[in-house]
């Protein structure tokens, strides 16, 4: 399997985050046109009107998480992985995932049942990041102890 160098991997991840952020902006712009339309029935104008703010609200945690991912990648680039800043980034991204999961549940109850699947994905991702955050937090403590062992 081809192995990408560490620096190239970080740059590639940064580019992916950038593309993700641009995609998010594109979704935000196109959202009013992308939502299902119908004359009367379940998708009438009033229904769409209520669905739109929820859809925009669901984009916010993704945007915040993307920003903190970029911040975390920049810390990796500066070789500052085992620091409190990195732990803080992971904590924020994890909370964003949990928030997104909560919004997905709300959206699934009110509008789209399919968002229940997103709830599981976002919730599980949040949980995984929480575990990674705890591991890094422990590593930060070990590093501090090692650094201050004379």
């Amino acid at each position: 399997m081809p192995k990408i160098s560490k620096n190239a991997s970080v740059i590639l991840s940064l580019v992916c985050c950038g593309i993700g952020f641009l995609g998010l902006i594109a979704i935000a712009v196109l959202l009013p046109f992308a939502l299902p339309k119908g004359n009367g029935g379940p998708y009438d104008g009033q229904y769409i009107g209520r669905m739109l703010p929820m859809s925009y609200l669901m984009l916010v945690p993704v945007g915040v998480a993307d920003g903190f991912l970029v911040k975390l990648l920049l810390l990796v680039r500066k070789r500052q992985v085992f620091t409190d800043k990195a732990v803080s980034c992971l904590r924020t991204i994890s909370w964003c995932c949990f928030l997104e999961a909560g919004l997905c549940v709300l959206s699934a109850i009110l509008y789209f049942r399919i968002h229940l699947a997103l709830f599981f994905v976002a919730g599980f991702l949040g949980l995984v990041l929480r575990v990674v955050k705890n591991v890094i937090e422990e590593a930060v403590a070990l590093k501090a102890e090692n650094d201050f062992t004379i």
Binding site: A144, E145, F148, T149, I150
Partner: protein, 68 residues
Amino acid sequence: MIEVNLDVMMARRRMSLNELSDRVGITVANLSILKNNKAKAVRFSTLDAICRELNCAPGDILEYREED
């Protein structure tokens, strides 16, 4: 908590931080961390070298104090 009284012993022996650093073979920065009670742990080899150079026992450098 454990307190390091390195500065007291250094004053008694009239030895500067630079001199002790040279004799013990650890950097001034690390010795300063130790002197200012910022260290999390001390290696036996470091303690051994400091005690040898200051002609003292570990108990002269390390002291246990109740936390406030």
